[in-house]
């Protein structure tokens, strides 16, 4: 099969400093090559400018595309589309709609609370995964009390590796776990006020309808008191792993 000729302008710089231009396997005259190169630059530059002109910006800088798409839905009026820079969008009274960059996020966040289409889209994009914050005992209690979890099996692996089953038993075991850990931290620190945060990462298996939280001690030979000595404010083993498998524990003192 014949070799396909390349339609792209090829530029080679010889060791002598001379530039050679090639097109479709043929060497071009210098002036011709330069002219094609200039035309290609212009084409790319125009395309980039066109793309930039169609990109939503805030104070001259492009904003994430997902924001732009959502804003088109939130502000469908044509007059808003006259400028792509959101910092220049104004209300009828002339005041800016987006005074700060975060006002864009605020608008989207608020819309997601009232518009199910936007909520669905943002959920699919993982927008809320970042916004969940800490999953504390109360969050777990609230979640697993919901009807959707009626047919779920609830499993907890405790610090010793024993399995506990049942919705109430699991919540009770988490409570006991918290009392044990906070007591150990408090004893190790001996400070007046110790605030401990538990950030659980349970596994929700929706296919098999299983809620599982593994709190097994990853290294029983390393005591909480040993970890506290490092004064880093978190219960991590020297390897960087959580002391207890699916919970990230931090503490602060006064």
């Amino acid at each position: 099969m014949a070799k396909r000729k390349n339609n792209k302008l090829k530029i080679k710089l010889a060791t002598s400093g001379v530039i050679y231009y090639y097109l479709k396997g043929r060497r071009l005259k210098s002036a011709e090559g330069k002219a094609i190169q200039a035309a290609q630059f212009q084409k790319r530059s125009d395309a980039a400018k066109k793309a930039a002109a169609n990109t939503y910006k805030f104070q001259g800088r492009a904003i994430p595309r997902i924001y732009a798409v959502l804003l088109q839905k939130l502000f469908p009026k044509k007059d808003f589309m006259q400028t792509m820079d959101l910092s220049k969008w104004t209300k009828p009274d002339g005041t800016p709609i987006f005074k700060r960059y975060s006002d864009i996020q605020r608008n989207i966040d608020n819309a997601s609370k009232s518009d199910s289409d936007i909520f669905k889209l943002l959920t699919e994009m993982g927008y809320f995964k970042d916004k969940e914050g800490r999953t504390a005992l109360i969050d777990i209690c609230e979640i697993i009390q919901q009807k959707e979890y009626d047919k779920f099996k609830f499993i907890l692996i405790d610090a010793e590796g024993d399995e506990i089953r049942g919705r109430v038993a699991v919540c009770t075991a988490i409570r006991d776990f918290e009392v044990d850990v906070t007591t150990d931290i408090k004893n190790a620190l001996g400070m007046n006020v110790v605030k401990t945060y538990f950030d659980y990462s349970p596994n929700y298996d929706f296919k098999n309808k299983i809620f599982k939280l593994d709190l097994q001690d990853q290294d029983p030979n390393t005591e909480i008191a040993d970890i506290i000595q490092t004064q880093k404010g978190e219960l991590l083993l020297p390897t960087g792993k959580n002391k207890f498998k699916n919970v990230y524990i931090t503490y602060s003192v006064s």
Partner: protein, 280 residues
């Protein structure tokens, strides 16, 4: 066993539970962050992890009262707010700096409460006089929560979570400071490294003009800030996980959080179709 206040330990709780079971008394165990209360037909036993000064409860009551009395507070309580309070530059995989810039907001939540018209000047000044941890605890009590465990015949038969109605005000504070941090992130662009609650970290090469912009924003919104000494700064990203180590004010610190990046990546594919539908 009424009106007793004990130190909270697993043994103390177990001893009371065993005693009540032996006596065939049903009870409710209320588990909170700092306290456990055991309520039974003859009274209540309180087990406490920390001993707070009265001024902490006093400040907490002042804040709650002001928030409930303010119009804005009533509106905020009706809404839901996000609780995310950290973010990192997604383009930074791994870096190391001998030093880096760190701007910390001073008394961020207290200022946010006051700037949002949620508390009076009197309450604001009272809060500012408290040591940092006590101030945080007082404001954090807006979101006090506990889980009630119901015991019958010595067995836990049910549980009931409870949140203070003012919890959304605390989440609003988190959200507001987070929006402010997002503004700073935007202003810093590529010089932004990460923020955690009310402290933002930027590259040591950050231009002065950008820092001035950040300072002007904070001043214009009525926030006070300070620069902190940060040394031996490093960022490491392992998949979704960002691990940051540093020595801040001569104290070793480590921050670790998930960026949810893989969730976003997966979401991108799913969302393509949804995006097209939305555009159409």
């Amino acid at each position: 066993m009424d009106g007793l206040t004990l130190k909270r330990t697993p043994d103390a709780i177990k001893w009371i539970q065993d005693s009540l079971q032996t006596s065939d008394i049903d009870y409710v165990l209320k588990h909170g962050t700092y306290t456990t209360q055991i309520q039974h037909s003859m009274g209540t036993i309180k087990l406490m992890l920390n001993n707070f000064q009265n001024r902490v409860f006093c400040a907490s009551q002042m804040v709650k009262k002001d928030c409930k009395n303010s119009e804005n507070g009533q509106e905020i309580m009706k809404a839901t707010h996000y609780k995310k309070n950290y973010d990192a530059n997604p383009k930074i995989e791994s870096i190391k700096y001998d030093t880096c810039f760190n701007i910390d907001l001073s008394s961020a939540y207290a200022y946010c409460l006051f700037n949002s018209g949620l508390i009076t000047k009197k309450t604001f000044n009272y809060l500012l006089k408290l040591p940092k941890m006590e101030r945080l605890t007082s404001v954090g009590m807006l979101a006090t929560s506990h889980v009630k465990y119901f015991y019958s015949g010595g067995k836990c038969v049910d549980f009931q979570p409870y949140r203070e109605p003012t919890a959304q005000i605390f989440f609003y504070l988190i959200d507001e400071i987070n929006y402010l941090m997002q503004d700073i992130k935007w202003m810093l662009g590529n010089d932004f490294i990460f923020y955690w609650v009310d402290g933002v970290f930027m590259k040591p090469t950050t231009p002065k003009s950008k820092i001035e912009k950040v300072e002007n924003l904070l001043i214009s919104l009525g926030y006070k800030y300070k620069y902190e000494k940060v040394e031996n700064f490093s960022v490491n990203r392992i998949q979704d996980k960002v691990i940051i180590d540093m020595i801040k004010n001569d104290e070793s610190k480590r921050y670790e959080f998930s960026t949810g990046a893989s969730g976003r990546e997966l979401g991108k594919h799913i969302a393509k179709k949804a995006m097209q539908d939305l555009q159409n």
